[in-house]
């Protein structure tokens, strides 16, 4: 119980730090945001409107608190480019990105766990080395290149989906999944490569343990040893890795959404950066950072529950 409280405290502090950094980045560094947005030849009255809209007539400390409390209330300001509340823009796109990220996570686990165990079982063999080489090749590919190759291969050549033909998840859910399957795969493959390498190493180490010898002495088959004994032990350090993997999935989704023209949060972020739509960018950055921090917390908590040797609850 005490651990949970302490962890939540760390969470709150981290989030405050992130908010401070974000606010600092967008409000301190750019110099005069108004001239950045409107240009230097802007009319005085438009400048005044924008200044008050952005709250620049307040002092920085006040502005931060006002921004922070607005954020907590769900008021994220108004987009400069779209002239609509940021909240609405994000609400429409966030579920798409979340589905994509979730599917990527599931695919990563589904691909890397069996592969990792398989490579550990056959380590040193040709199959193991072939898979290792493939993983290394995948890791050297820029993820957007992998995405483009997928668009070409699965979309244009094999015609398994229509590139650019995004299907709304509310309109036709199965076809929506059919569409985001391929971008999710593009995100999942490089991350799988990392997990496979890690899991393989962990499992090979576990295979040398005494308890594996005991299991074999009981007459257990190799399959049973691997999946019934080794996997549970080997996967614990891998779960810690998944915190980083989640961050990578969200980072990857930003680019992959661009490659596959998916109307998610990442694509919105890119377009709002090019148009220097500060309120929108600010909020999106906070959101993504929030999700990553929460995911890391979830991973930490998961580890507590999986390993019975850890007494802290």
């Amino acid at each position: 119980m005490r651990y949970l409280v302490r962890r939540l405290l760390t969470l709150v502090l981290t989030l405050l730090l992130v908010s401070l950094l974000t606010f600092g980045a967008f409000n301190v560094i750019p110099g005069d945001p108004v001239s950045l947005i409107l240009g230097t030849e802007a009319r005085a009255d438009r400048v005044a409107v924008l200044r008050s809209h952005l709250g620049l007539d307040m002092r920085p400390g006040q502005r931060y608190l006002s921004w922070l409390s607005g954020f907590a209330r769900g008021d994220f300001g108004t987009s400069i480019k779209y002239s609509t509340p940021v909240r609405g823009l994000i609400a429409a796109r966030l579920p798409v990105t979340l589905f994509l990220a979730l599917l990527s996570l599931v695919l990563t686990a589904a691909v890397s766990i069996p592969l990792g165990v398989y490579c550990a079982r056959k380590h040193g063999s040709i199959q193991d080395r072939a898979i290792g080489a493939t993983m290394m090749a995948v890791l050297s590919m820029p993820n957007f290149f992998l995405g483009v190759v997928f668009v070409w291969l699965f979309g244009l050549v094999l015609k398994l989906f229509t590139p650019g033909g995004y299907v709304d998840y509310q309109a036709d859910f199965p076809r929506f999944i059919g569409y985001i399957l391929f971008p999710a795969l593009a995100i999942a493959l490089p991350n799988s490569a990392v997990v496979v390498k890690f899991l393989r190493g962990s499992a090979i180490g576990e295979l040398r343990s005494d308890y594996v010898r005991t299991a074999r002495a009981k007459g257990a088959s190799e399959d049973r040893v691997l999946y019934g004994h080794v996997l549970k032990n080997a996967i614990i350090p891998v779960i810690a890795l998944f915190g980083m993997i989640v961050a990578e999935i969200f980072s990857g989704s930003i680019i992959i959404e661009q490659v596959f023209s998916i109307p998610g949060v990442g694509r919105l972020l890119i377009s709002s950066i090019t148009s220097r739509d500060f309120p929108l960018v600010e909020t999106l950055v906070m959101y993504i950072a929030l999700i990553v921090v929460l995911a890391n917390l979830a991973v930490d908590i998961a580890i507590q529950f999986i390993d019975p040797r850890i007494k802290v609850r």
Partner: protein, 269 residues
Amino acid sequence: MKTGIPHDRDLRAGLTIVALVAFSALASLVFTPFDPNAMDAAHRFALPGWPHLLGTDNFGRDILSRLAVGARFSLIVSLSTVTIGTVFGVLLGMPAGYFGGVVDEVIMRLVDALTSFPGILLALVAVTVLPSGRYTIVAALGVLFVPSFTRIARSGTLQFKDSEFAASARAFGASSFRVMFVHILPNIYPQLLSAIVVGLSNAILAESGMSYLGLGIQPPAPSWGRMLAEAQAFLFNAPWGAIAPGLAIMIAVLGFNRLGEGLRKELGL
């Protein structure tokens, strides 16, 4: 380092590829088979052959020439990025390791906070808030590399701060800064060197990603990422226009990676 052809396979492969990339980059300063920006409507989407050795893109521009110039920009940006990362990493990491205590705590907390942020997000934020310019990307990406170099510099410093030569330098009255930068730094250069080379491969990846998004080097300067983005629209008819820059990025990244691995083994790390 020994002279002659190195035996290690990684080292050999890495050196070959890096040499190729560097050669193309340097050569592009004086000569390219065609003007990289010259459009030739009559010869669009040509496949590799003669006279365009690697074909042409959707505007009829020679791909080989564009790749060569792109190599130059990739190298410039990644070298600058890694330099920033290394310089600031050393400036932060060595005092952290040497002085320990509060200095160490503060610096490492900062580094931890930076690493818990998804890298691309950091770069995107930086690109948004910094004044736009041809090489804004360098500053944006440079920040990404500071944490890992800080860690390497710090651990290297921890290794050597209580060594004999450091102790004797202090006994002779050398200031902390002198001990760090004149005595310890030359000893940690092997770790830094292999990290720099691997960092270059990551920088090339990162830069190409930002260019793909249109946030990197601005056109008309050809960059590999941008070439890929522009060619994507024509993927159905002419996939080669996208595959060529993609392969170039892959090969360069692999090359630097292998070189870094080989160096690490060679230097006994």
